[in-house]
């Protein structure tokens, strides 16, 4: 056992110490005995403190990286919780299968994807990761091994999907895969002038498998909401395998904070939008390149420097989404806070899979903001107020600072969920929002 271990979350904020990091290598072994609380950790891609457990123990699950079975006929894979999604795709895709839902990076584990009930660019047609989990085993401090499925231990099943690792250690999961015609997608991209156009394009593109918009969060007034709209479908007539993934470029150290300033972001945004054009531009891309655009740049989070960054991802109900989004974008533009990557998407109508699932019917907005101390935290609190007022939610996987009130407002089933938390498990986020 090592002591005083620091694990950096993806946003490099906050920086906290742990009593120990205990690797878990075998799915049949019992939980370690610890003095404080424990929390499973996968690839540490959560942005804030949801995968941290300050002063406690982290169960490092990367050694749980085995498959247990792969039914090639029915497309069901049983795998351990520490298998990275990217590795899983490499194994199943040559057999014509893929994961029905993936987030914007392949560098997350199956356990992490399940515990955050992640969503992707196809939420409007496929729901979340949890909608495709058929069964999993949970190792709890009070009950030992419990198998959960939509019909067996249903309450614990729903508490664990999106349950932030708090309901016990997921050892393995059965995932239902889906057939893919190829490992390529046909992508269409066009410029959009503002939010009205975003909603029109989203409605028009509802039959496409993937839709997402990238917006310029620095644009104000009439230009607010301008950006690029992307939609894509799996390519039906592509037969060749995609090019092998290259190790690619990487960011070897924390950049000085000044590099990624407002002017740099403005220039980048303008350049990006200039590429769009007023008509649909069509291209065929490897599915992975389209779904995981930033995975080609290792450790891109270092662009934000040593102070780190905060991501704010919210969802607001569809009804008054336009005005709420305008309010939030106006707040960000007024603050001058440079959001490098601002993403907008209309979620589908499917009921959430888990008690604490973030993705729900509505419109989601994700903003990146460099950590500049109190001013940044105050801005994010103002954004939270807009979301609370709209009856929306903030995504815990990306959060490092929301208030208990915001958390309660985001998750009406909170108290029901709390009953399923393993008595020996906790996290920095959980203590912060559920004191």
């Amino acid at each position: 056992m090592r002591d005083a271990e620091e694990v950096l979350p993806w946003g490099n904020y906050p920086r906290v110490r742990h009593a120990a990091i205990v690797p878990v290598y075998w799915r049949h072994q019992p939980l370690p005995s610890t003095t404080g609380t424990m929390l499973p950790l996968g690839l540490a891609r959560s942005y804030g403190d949801s995968a941290l457990n300050e002063g406690g123990t982290l169960l490092a699950t990367r050694g749980l990286d085995r498959l247990a079975a792969f039914d090639r006929e029915h497309g069901v894979v049983r795998c351990e919780a520490g298998v990275p999604l990217g590795r899983l795709l490499e194994i199943v895709e040559p057999h014509g299968w893929s994961l029905p839902v993936v987030p914007g990076t392949a560098h997350v584990t199956v356990g992490g994807a399940l515990a955050n009930d992640v969503h992707g660019k196809n939420h409007h047609v496929a729901g979340t990761f949890g909608h495709h989990v058929a069964r999993f085993e949970l190792l709890r401090s009070d009950r030992g091994r419990v198998q959960c499925s939509p019909t067996e231990e249903r309450d614990l099943f729903r508490a664990t999907l999106g349950g932030l690792g708090l309901t016990g250690l997921i050892t393995w999961a059965d995932l239902q895969l889906r057939r893919i015609p190829s490992q390529w997608v046909d992508v269409e991209t066009r410029r959009m002038a503002g939010l009205d156009e975003f909603f029109a394009l989203s409605a028009e593109s509802a039959a496409h498998e993937y839709t997402v918009a990238w917006i310029d969060a620095l644009a104000r007034g009439g230009a607010a909401g301008r950006g690029l709209f992307m939609r894509a479908n799996p390519a039906l007539d592509a037969t060749q395998p995609p090019p092998a993934a290259r190790s690619g470029i990487g960011i070897p150290f924390d950049w000085p904070a000044a590099v990624l300033n407002r002017h740099a972001v403005r220039a980048f945004n303008a350049l990006y939008i200039a590429r769009g054009g007023g008509q649909w531009r069509r291209s065929r891309q490897p599915t992975r390149k389209f779904l995981f655009p930033l995975d080609g740049i290792a450790r891109w989070n270092r662009m934000y420097g040593k102070a780190g960054f905060l991501q704010h991802q919210s969802v607001v109900p569809r009804a008054d989404a336009a005005s709420k989004l305008r309010e939030m974008l106006a707040e960000v533009a007024r603050s001058g806070g440079a959001s490098f990557l601002t993403v907008l998407k209309v979620f589908g109508e499917r009921e959430p899979a888990g008690l604490l699932s973030f993705a729900r019917p509505g419109v989601t907005l994700a903003l990146d903001l460099p950590m500049r101390g109190e001013a940044t935290l105050a801005l994010l609190e103002r954004l939270d107020a807009v979301v609370r007022d709209a009856g929306g939610a903030i995504y815990p996987a990306k959060d490092a600072r929301m208030s208990p009130a915001t958390f309660r407002a985001s998750f009406p089933a909170l108290e029901e969920f709390a009953r399923h938390v393993d008595p020996a498990f906790s996290s920095s986020l959980w203590r912060r929002v559920h004191a």
Partner: protein, 246 residues
């Protein structure tokens, strides 16, 4: 020629698992030998789910009396054998070994006697068929005795010397004997160590082992920069070396 029928002893070690995945992904047929039934089944199921042809034998390799039968079983199960990887081993608690010589002997049995016994039996069969590869995982720790882990170092040093001699004996018989010397690898065996820049992942080391199985000769340091580090360590004058207190 790349080996296609391979037996792995100590198949549930992290390095062995990473090697097996790489071999499986190119269609090799594998026979796995290990002691713990749950771990062996987890590793077998993983490789089978990836599409590999895998068989297993459960065995405590400390029991050298079973080695002849285990080697014979590997040949039979795979219908002949092209290569063997010896990956079993432990990392002894040096202080505990200093308190108990019985424990020291037990560690030497696991880390030297058992792999040497397997190599001897594999060597006879490979020599008879005029082909085969023996790759055994030794360690940089065997290159010089250090106060912090000389019980382990002694076993690995003895294994390296044994393999060196065996290599000489089998020279020009068509049989290759490769000594694998990994540096620091992040595995369950080293879970309690603080990791620094010199640490490699099991998969990085596995890539080197697969290359060694294909065409390696002599001693292979993994990652390769360990050759330079150990060159310096080996050649430090004794008085200076003692001052390092390593």
């Amino acid at each position: 020629m790349k080996p296609e029928r391979i037996v792995i002893f100590g198949a549930t070690s992290a390095i062995a698992q990473a090697v097996a995945r790489r071999l499986a992904s190119r269609g090799a047929r594998l026979h796995l030998v290990a002691r713990d039934p749950d771990k062996l089944e987890a590793v077998r199921a993983d490789l089978a789910a990836r599409g590999a042809a895998v068989t297993t034998s459960l065995a405590d390799l400390d029991v050298v009396e079973r080695h002849e039968a285990l080697v014979a079983e590997a040949f039979e199960t795979l219908g002949g054998l092209d290569a063997a990887l010896l990956a079993q081993g432990t990392l002894p608690d040096q202080a505990a070994c200093e308190r108990s010589f019985d424990r020291t002997l037990a560690e030497w049995r696991t880390n030297f006697i058992a792999p040497a016994s397997l190599c001897a039996r594999l060597a006879d069969r490979f020599e008879a068929q005029g082909a085969g590869v023996i790759a055994a995982i030794s360690s940089v720790a065997g290159d010089r005795g250090r106060r912090s882990n000389y019980v382990y170092g002694t076993a690995k040093g003895a294994l390296s010397t044994f393999l060196q001699g065996l290599r000489g004996r089998l020279d020009s018989t068509g049989v290759r004997v490769v000594t694998i010397k990994p540096g620091f690898v992040d595995t369950p065996m080293t879970a309690s160590f603080r990791k620094g820049a010199l640490w490699a992942t099991p998969d990085q080391v596995a890539a080197g082992i697969v290359a060694a199985l294909d065409h390696g000769r002599g001693e292979v340091y993994l990652p390769r920069f360990w050759w330079a580090i150990m060159f310096v360590i080996r050649h430090l004058p004794e008085r200076l070396f003692l001052k390092l207190r390593i």
